[in-house]
């Protein structure tokens, strides 16, 4: 009979625990539907060369695929960090998402080019196949070309060391350091 008295307390503690946990969950973070699948096939122009490229061009791997656009403010924020990742030899492929290609080329010329290549996606169709819902987004392709991680929002050192570093152990990246002009 005495235990009954504590039922409201138990209920309160349970509810408080539930709500407290809710505080630390980001409701805007969506699970990526493409995890564990290969990069969706595409055939699009490359931003700088204008040549048509396909998903087969996304080598070497493991690599990052970064969704960006000149209209995206946060992309400008993360740009310097992408440059430093590229300097460390991590391959980064850009998906220039629903952007003006002329402005995009100017951006790379002025701010530096961290990308091995850039997929031009004016219509957003590659983005749609990938499940992109905004920019910036950054995906990890593992050595076999499977999508293994997605990050929505600005990529910085804290996020990278927490969520990305297991695919890119320090010093293990063997790819050549790309020239400042980008390209392969």
């Amino acid at each position: 009979m005495r235990a009954r008295k504590f039922i409201p307390l138990f209920a309160f503690v349970l509810l408080a625990g539930l709500l407290f946990r809710g505080l630390s969950i980001d409701p805007t973070a969506l699970p990526a539907a493409r995890l564990g699948q290969p990069f969706p096939p595409f055939a699009q122009p490359e931003l700088l060369s204008g040549d048509e490229i396909t998903d087969a061009a996304l080598t070497p791997r493991p690599a990052l695929v970064n969704v960006w656009a000149t209209w995206c403010y946060s992309c400008r924020v993360e740009h310097p960090y992408l440059l430093s990742l590229a300097e460390q030899g991590i391959p980064i492929y850009g998906l220039n998402y629903k952007d003006d290609s002329v402005k995009a080329r100017d951006w790379l010329e002025q701010l530096g080019d961290p990308y091995r290549l850039n997929i031009v996606d004016v219509e957003g169709s590659v983005g749609l196949d990938l499940g992109v819902y905004g920019a910036p987004e950054t995906y990890v392709l593992d050595a076999d070309g499977y999508i293994v991680h997605r990050h929505v929002g600005v990529l910085d050192e804290a996020v990278f060391s927490r969520d990305f570093s297991r695919w890119f152990p320090v010093g293990a990246t063997s790819g050549p350091i790309p020239a400042a002009g980008g390209g392969l």
């Binding site: 969506l30 499940g131 819902y133």
Partner: protein, 158 residues
């Protein structure tokens, strides 16, 4: 003077009308080949959730991604895709999240079961509550207590 008032009144009404336009859902024109497709478009666009502005369906949202998804929906309907095919296409890209009525799987089971679960929890609580009250009501006196009561009643009043 009357005329000025009338003009003021009319312009106020006009402003109200304009203001109410903004509150409506996104207005776009698609040339559907049949009214049947249009009806399915409206149903599906209300069923699909915008990934960017998460508490709106794609019919109501102005987000670029919602617009893109409406275009895809229109194109697929015109191309003769079934509702299931369209939903599967969306789910493959944006997960069960894009459906306001997700399919039942391990992740959504709790979501679907929650109403029945909570209802039965509440019902169990109520039943327990009333049963307890019924048990408590007929309070039977012990023989000693009965004697005491009778003695008290028998005592002459002061």
């Amino acid at each position: 003077m009357k005329k000025v008032q009338k003009i003021l009144m009319l312009s106020a009404l006009w402003c109200l009308l304009l203001a109410s336009l903004g509150a409506q859902a996104v207005i776009e024109t698609y040339a559907f080949s049949s009214p049947d497709l249009e009806a399915r478009y409206h149903l599906l666009s209300q069923e699909l959730r915008c990934p960017k502005c998460q508490n709106q369906n794609i019919a109501d949202s102005n987000a670029p991604i919602a617009r893109d998804l409406r275009v895809v929906l229109f194109e697929q309907l015109e191309a003769g895709a079934t509702d299931d095919e369209i939903l599967a296409f969306m789910v493959a890209r944006y997960g069960e999240f894009v459906r306001y009525r997700p399919g039942i799987d391990r992740q959504t089971l709790l979501l679907w079961a929650a109403p029945a679960l909570l209802l039965s929890l509440g019902a169990a609580g109520l039943i327990g509550h009333f049963r307890q009250r019924r048990v408590r009501r007929p309070e039977v006196l012990t023989d000693a207590e009965r004697d005491q009561v009778e003695q008290l009643l028998r005592e002459p009043r002061a």
